[in-house]
């Protein structure tokens, strides 16, 4: 399937806040042995943000084997993708109603505390980001705490995978102290990484005060390699992808809205992202960080992913991949 829009050769530009991912991308073409890996992924059909999203998330998580016993007494950190402030293009960021719905599920299951946390990559002013993305009124009405990960206290934590040369990663206290970390990205194409889903969403975990705005340190270290190191070191517990309306074309910020009408969720992030990529009509093996996850962080092959809920009905997303 070829949905891509050809662009200038190469690309992967560190100066544009992008990268030099060519090295790992080339290595990752060889499929790893992931035959020992299995994961469950749930796809919920949710046509609009007015639909009962909370019910869909609850049903999906129960189907995946999660419930009150998993959550009771725990601190749950919800990490949306709020990469940059824009009121006019709501498809750039995770929709606040999806985060609200997830918070309601965890609260109803007895979470000790539910907190929303993000470290936007393109804007230092978190108040402005929350205003523009319409998160501020939602957080206020739901009495949800928010943590600006760009300025949280941090500690340097040993890099557990070392695909980059970054020996340690600065991890915010809120990330280290959370019992359950839920990556909640928007379903988007990405002009350098192919897709940006629950794994790439972890860029927002690292504090801008150490990595810059944009987090150019990670671009220099290699986007693909950084995604893998981050996921191996942070080890999020769950992903819930907002694919009700995603973004196609020149993602992650300048693309156009794309209605896909789905939420995709699961505890293994590579498997969730591989499934979402298939829903987008993109072969996950062509995404360097997914191919690089196979055999280590999680399965990518369909035969190793047990799919629940709706069957995959690809909604081809146009891509804009610099090659």
């Amino acid at each position: 399937m070829n949905n891509s829009i050809p662009t200038t050769r190469r690309g992967f530009l560190t100066a544009a806040g992008a990268l030099t991912a060519v090295g790992l991308g080339a290595r990752a073409v060889q499929r790893a042995d992931e035959s020992h890996q299995r994961a469950d992924v749930f796809i919920a059909h949710v046509d609009s943000y007015q639909d009962p999203i909370e019910r869909s998330i609850r049903e999906g998580l129960v189907e995946l084997g999660f419930g009150p016993a998993w959550v009771r007494g725990k601190t749950v950190l919800l990490k949306p993708n709020l990469v940059e402030p824009t009121r006019d293009a709501p498809h750039v960021n995770t929709h606040p109603l999806v985060v609200r719905a997830a918070a309601e599920v965890y609260r109803s299951w007895g979470a000790r505390r539910v907190v929303v946390a993000e470290g936007p990559g393109h804007c230092r002013d978190i108040d402005y980001v929350l205003d523009e993305s319409q998160f501020a009124p939602m957080l206020a009405s739901e009495s949800l705490d928010f943590v600006d990960l760009n300025f949280d206290d941090y500690d340097w934590t040993k890099n557990k995978l070392n695909r980059t040369t970054l020996g340690a990663l600065a991890l915010p206290a809120s990330i280290r102290n959370a019992d359950l970390i839920v990556s909640m990205p928007k379903m988007k194409t990405h002009h350098w990484a192919g897709v940006t889903l629950s794994m790439k969403n972890l860029f927002g975990v690292l504090p801008g005060c150490c990595y810059g705005w944009p987090k150019n340190v990670l671009h220099q270290a290699g986007i693909t390699e950084s995604i893998l190191d981050l996921n191996a070191t942070v080890r999020p517990h769950l992903a819930i992808i907002d694919g009700i309306v995603g973004m196609e074309g020149d993602g992650p910020i300048m693309g156009t809205p794309k209605h896909a009408g789905v939420l995709v969720m699961g505890a293994n992030l590579p498997a969730v992202d591989a499934t979402a990529a298939r829903l987008m009509g993109i072969d996950p093996w062509t995404i360097a960080h997914l191919a690089g996850s196979s055999g280590t962080l999680g399965p990518v092959d369909e035969c190793h992913i047990s799919q629940r809920g709706e069957s995959i009905n690809p909604q081809p997303f146009r891509t804009l991949t610099a090659m």
């Binding site: 108040d127 340097w156 002009h191 005060c209 810059g212 705005w213 944009p214």
Partner: protein, 310 residues
């Protein structure tokens, strides 16, 4: 100027000083360079531009400023950079050094830390990409212009370059080639529609979106330069966006940027006062209070750009 909220903001900022005389991003977090430098600048600007508090409060403010400057000096490394943590971790941030430098210029007692910070700043260079690289075609800006990065070994971006210019021009070395290049970089990163964002203008042929805070910071850094169409477009963007901005930092930098070019919004004072009331009790209020205070004092943009005052 509504002096009642300004007085409250001054007191609120003082109350948020930590035991070690610094300020943190959060009430209970460690002291950091940016909030400490901004607090010192804001309190000193209040002292200079709105000297209406009583004598005891004035003395308390002056002591807090002196203590903050000393705290910043105590956190200057051997290389001249100022870091909140003296740990040897390679990524420990030093980008707030120009703010510390600007704060030190409030006093004549920090000539040596200033000299070392200036030397460090002049040696800090964002990575450039040669003109013959194929990558150059992907972005709309000139990747050969030397500016300042957030972090060592990365590219130059808008805000660190603007901070460096504010600090260096305050050191009365306005003709240095680095300053000249920095001014060119800011001009080059402007968005076609007006204003600035973090520092990408066009990527893959698409113009990106402006943001108020970087636009305000850039306009302060450019203050005193000849007025150009780039500046006109940026001012028009901020004037158009101003009524919709509620966030304290973006609001403050917008006022400072407009003020630097004689276009301070008429309702600036009332809107800043309302925002102050809304955020004053937040745990993360320190940097916001400092910025609101700076924006609330007419003439602060000029104060930020002036050289040593005492």
């Amino acid at each position: 100027m509504n002096e009642s909220w300004i007085a409250e903001a001054r007191r609120g900022l003082l109350e948020r000083a930590r035991g070690d005389k610094s300020w943190g991003y959060q009430l209970r977090s460690r002291g950091e360079v940016e909030p400490t430098a901004l607090a010192a600048l804001a309190l000193e600007a209040a002292h200079a531009l709105a000297p209406s508090v009583n004598e005891a409060e004035s003395r308390r403010e002056q002591a807090a400023v002196s203590d903050a400057l000393a705290w910043l000096a105590a956190h200057q490394g051997n290389d001249g950079a100022v870091r909140a943590s003296m740990s040897a971790a390679p990524g420990e941030p030093a980008w707030a050094t120009p703010l510390a430098l600007r704060a030190w210029s409030l006093s004549e007692d920090f000539a040596e830390p200033r000299r070392r910070a200036v030397a460090w700043l002049l040696n800090r260079v964002g990575k450039i990409i040669p003109k013959d690289s194929p990558d150059v075609r992907i972005v709309g800006h000139d990747l050969t212009i030397v500016g300042w990065p957030w972090v060592e070994q990365t590219h130059a971006w808008l805000e660190p370059t603007a901070y460096a210019l504010i600090a260096l021009r305050g050191e009365a070395i306005a003709t240095h080639p680095r300053i000249e290049a920095g001014l060119r970089l800011i001009d080059n990163r402007a968005l076609p529609s007006g204003g600035w964002n973090y520092g990408n203008s066009l990527v893959l042929g698409r113009a990106l979106r402006p943001q108020p805070a970087p636009t305000g910071v850039a306009l302060v850094a450019l203050a005193g330069q000849p007025r150009t169409p780039t500046i006109d477009r940026a001012l028009a963007y901020l004037q158009q966006k101003w009524p919709m901005i509620e966030a304290p930092a973006s609001m403050s930098w917008s006022v400072l940027g407009l003020d630097a070019w004689g276009e301070r919004p008429r309702d600036a004072d009332s809107r800043l006062a309302r925002t102050f009331q809304a955020i004053q009790s937040r745990d993360d209020a320190a940097t916001r209070l400092a910025l609101l205070l700076l924006a609330g004092l007419e003439g602060s943009a000029g104060f930020l750009m002036r050289g040593p005052t005492r």
